[in-house]
């Protein structure tokens, strides 16, 4: 069901007394895809964090309405726990869904991670960590998926898998939000939030 899950006409956020995003007009629907573009320091990561409840800064005078949806974020900093194996990470991060082993196997296979299931994350490369996080998000299938700098660390094969994931989500009418310095043209039907114009 189409729904505006985040709406604000004057979103102003920052850290301490410093305002990073000022008076941004934002209306996000859970059935559309968005790309957040902007130069360095324009607030892409801040906005992505804010959308996905990971924002730890200050909210200034802003009127915001938002629905509590299942939102997952993949950021350049790894969220996976480095002392656990991939299998343990998958179990921990998807435990609330009760997903069967067969689905997990097929998703990990899709992301070419089957051989690394019992390896500790601390031995993974940045690309492998990103791929693992994408696999976990594919297993979770959240209402909204935010990816900050989606192409970072991914090789050609990884980018193809990412495109495939985003296309499937789009055809399922699930929202994906990508933030990067310029338009990536991964999906055709994306709305743009341009932070250079704020």
């Amino acid at each position: 069901m189409k729904n505006i899950f985040l709406n604000s006409n004057n979103l102003t956020i920052g850290y301490g007394n410093e305002i990073v995003i000022k008076n941004l007009s934002l209306s996000l629907s859970n059935e559309k895809n968005y790309e957040i573009i902007g130069k360095n320091g324009s607030g892409k990561t801040t906005l992505s964090n804010f959308i996905s409840y990971n924002f730890e800064g200050n909210l200034f005078d802003s009127v915001i309405t938002r629905d509590k949806l299942d939102i997952s974020e993949i950021s350049p900093k790894a969220t996976l726990l480095e002392n656990l194996t991939l299998d343990e990470n998958v179990a921990y991060f998807t435990h609330y869904l009760g997903i069967d082993e067969e689905t997990i196997n097929s998703k990990l296979n899709k992301f070419k991670l089957t051989d690394y299931r019992n390896d500790s994350i601390k031995n993974f490369s940045s690309g492998m960590i990103k791929r693992s996080e994408l696999a976990i998000c594919d297993i979770k299938n959240p209402d909204v998926l935010c990816i900050d700098e989606p192409l970072n660390y991914l090789d050609k094969e990884g980018i193809e898998i990412l495109e495939d994931l985003l296309n499937i989500r789009s055809s399922d009418n699930r929202c994906s939000i990508l933030s990067s310095q310029e338009s990536l043209n991964i999906l055709t039907n994306m709305e743009t939030v341009n932070l250079n114009e704020v």
Binding site: E56, I71, S72, L81, N83, Y92, F93
Partner: protein, 213 residues
Amino acid sequence: MKFNKYLIKKELFTEFRNNSSLYLITPTMTVLIIVFPILAENRFAIDEDLFIIIQILFLILFSTLFSIRNPIDNQKLSRELNFARITRSEYFINKITSEFLIYFPQILLFSVLYSAFTNTSVKTSVLYFIFTIIFFSVNTVMVNIIFQMFTSFNNKFVQFILIVPIYMAFSFFIAPIWLGINQELINIYLMLYLGITILIFSFTNIYLERNEK
């Protein structure tokens, strides 16, 4: 109040693989308590007057080292909890449980070793001794987690300075019991300790749950 076996398992695995407490703090403290009686009195026995105060001192030192071993990075924690869809109140109770499971056997073993190496013992029954250790462990673990969840110490020294007086306060409740006060007073002290534990836990839990709504 919801126990999450995945969260407890994750904390235990992280501890066993990170091993800063199991392989560093406990052996160091054990060596200290072996060496202490020889240094203090040149024999493997110490005066009863000295025994309890030194044991409490070791207990506070041990708890403080345990507390600052693995600081919580709040931003990383917040991201992790959101990704795993775990609320902060759920994290709080499960983190207390896992920290207690790691800490309690160590502190119990440590106290027993201390008694063994100094050929001296507390003047209370084993049952009350274990009860006091349980209360002390739960409270120190809880206060440490509260400190780390609601403040952002980048400096372990500041954390050390602030947390030691609180641990000292907790140890004041167990000192009289170990000194051998009578049964009625032991019950009063233990009830007081239980009350404090419930108060700290419930206020924190209410605060966390209110913020989640």
